[in-house]
Subunit: 136 residues, 4 copies
C-alpha cells in the first residue's frame, strides 16, 4: 500500500449557491490527488498517456461527511490499495484545516490501450515504479 | 417508486482529452435529472430552497460501463427509490442513442434546514406532491 | 448574417456562492449556442472534427449586465457575423424569461487542421452549407 | 499598480477532446490568480464577502495565443491596474514553462453590497490595504 498527501485551496468556482463545494468536484480532487501520488513515485500520468495507455475511471463512490467551503485548505490522503489485472484501486480521505474528516471515497481505474481501447496490464513503467518501491 | 426520463445532448466542455465525457460530469447529469423528476411532480427544487430547505448529496456511487462522447443524446432514467426520514434515495441509469446502458449510479440526499443546517423531515410541499401521486 | 436562438435552463452546478451563475459558464453557453446554430444549417461541429478540422476559440469577450439564477430559462441569440480567411466571428446576446438582456459577448474562432494544428480555410462542408443558405 | 505571480499545474478535467485546456477555464484561472494577489496584500476575498460585500465580474476579455496542455505548469502574472469608484480593473498574462506568452486577458469587477446588491465603494479593509502599500 502506498499513501500520499495532497493539499490544495478551494477555489471560488467550485462552490454552489448552498455556499459549499459542489459535490461533483470531489471526483476532480481525487483525480488530481492520485496523479500527485503517481508523481511522488516518479511516474507521471502524462507519460503514461504519451506511451500509449489510458487509465479511465470505472467506478466511483463518495461519502460526503461535512461540507467544504471556499478558501479552505483541504488535504486528500490517497492510498493505492491494490493492483489487480488491468485495475488499480485507490481510496481517499479528505480532511479540512481542523483535521476533521469531511469526505471519504474510492475509485477503480482500468488500464486500456489508446489504440484499441481494450483493457490491458499496467504498462511496464508503472510496474517498475511500483516494484522499485517494493510496492507490489 | 417514481421514475422519469431526461434526455440531453453532451456538450463539448464536458469532454476531456481521452475524447470522452469526463467522469466528474455524471454527478451533474444525475442532479439535473432528479430535479426534472421533481418538476414532473410539480415540485421545483428552486421552490424547496426558497421555502427554507436544502437537499445536499450525502452519498454518490457511479459505475462507468461505456464511455459517452460529444454530441451524443443521452437519456437518464431516474428513480426515486425511497424516502426515509430526512433522506431520499435516487437511482440512475443512462443509455445512449443505441439504447446501450453506459452508466449506472445512486445518490442519497438529506433534507436540512437552511437556517440551522440541521437534518429535518421533507418539507410539506414535497410530502404533499408525493402523497398526491400515491407515491408514499 | 445568420442568427439562431438557443434556450436552456440553468443547472444547479453552474451557480456559485453569490447565488448566481458563475461567470466562467457563459463561454460554455456561447459554445453550445453556436454549435446549435451550425446544427440549424445542417452542419455538425462533430462532423467538422471527424473530417480533420478543429475550430478553437482565439478571442472571447463578455459583458455581464445582469446576473442569471438557478432554474431560469435563458435564451442565447447567436449571430455568425463574418467569415474571414480561417476565422469565424460570432456574437451573442442572452435574455432571461422577462426578455431582459443580461449578457452580451463575442468570440472569434479559427479553423486549424487536426494533423498539422495550422490555420486553414473553412472546410468545404462548412462553405457549402453557408453558400446553400446564401450566407456567404 | 500591483502585480503578483501565481503558478499552478493544469489538471486533467480542464482539458477537452482537442487535447488542450478548454477555453472556459481561463476565467477560473484569472479568478484564483487575482484572489492570490489580494492574499499577498493580506486581504482575503473570503473576508470581503464575510464583511458584507461581493465583487462580481462585469466584463471579461481573453486572447488565446497558444494552447495549454495537461500537466503543464502555468504562471499567471496579474496586475491590479486601476480602482475607479466601485470598480477594479485587473489584467492577466499567462506564460508556460518555456516562458512563452500563451494567454492575455482583462477583467473588470464591481463592488456591491451583499444585502442590497447595489454598487458601492470598495470596503475600508480593501482601501486600507491598498493605501498601506502606497498603491492608491
Amino acid at each position: 500500500m502506498i499513501s500520499h498527501q495532497y493539499t490544495f485551496r478551494v477555489v471560488y468556482s467550485d462552490t454552489d449557491q448552498m455556499g459549499y463545494v459542489h459535490h461533483s468536484n470531489y471526483a476532480k480532487y481525487y483525480e488530481t490527488a492520485r496523479w500527485e501520488l503517481f508523481r511522488s513515485l516518479d511516474i507521471s500520468y502524462k507519460v503514461i498517456e504519451d506511451s500509449g495507455f489510458l487509465l479511465p475511471v470505472t467506478s466511483l463512490s463518495v461519502k460526503f461527511i461535512k461540507p467544504a467551503s471556499y478558501d479552505q485548505l483541504l488535504t486528500v490522503n490517497t492510498t493505492l490499495k491494490a493492483v489487480r489485472g488491468a485495475r488499480m484501486i485507490f481510496s481517499y480521505e479528505i480532511v479540512n484545516e481542523k483535521d476533521e474528516l469531511i469526505n471519504r471515497g474510492e475509485t477503480i481505474l482500468a488500464f486500456i490501450r489508446k489504440d484499441t481501447r481494450k483493457p490491458c496490464h499496467p504498462p511496464l513503467l508503472v510496474l517498475k515504479a511500483l516494484e522499485d518501491g517494493n510496492l507490489i
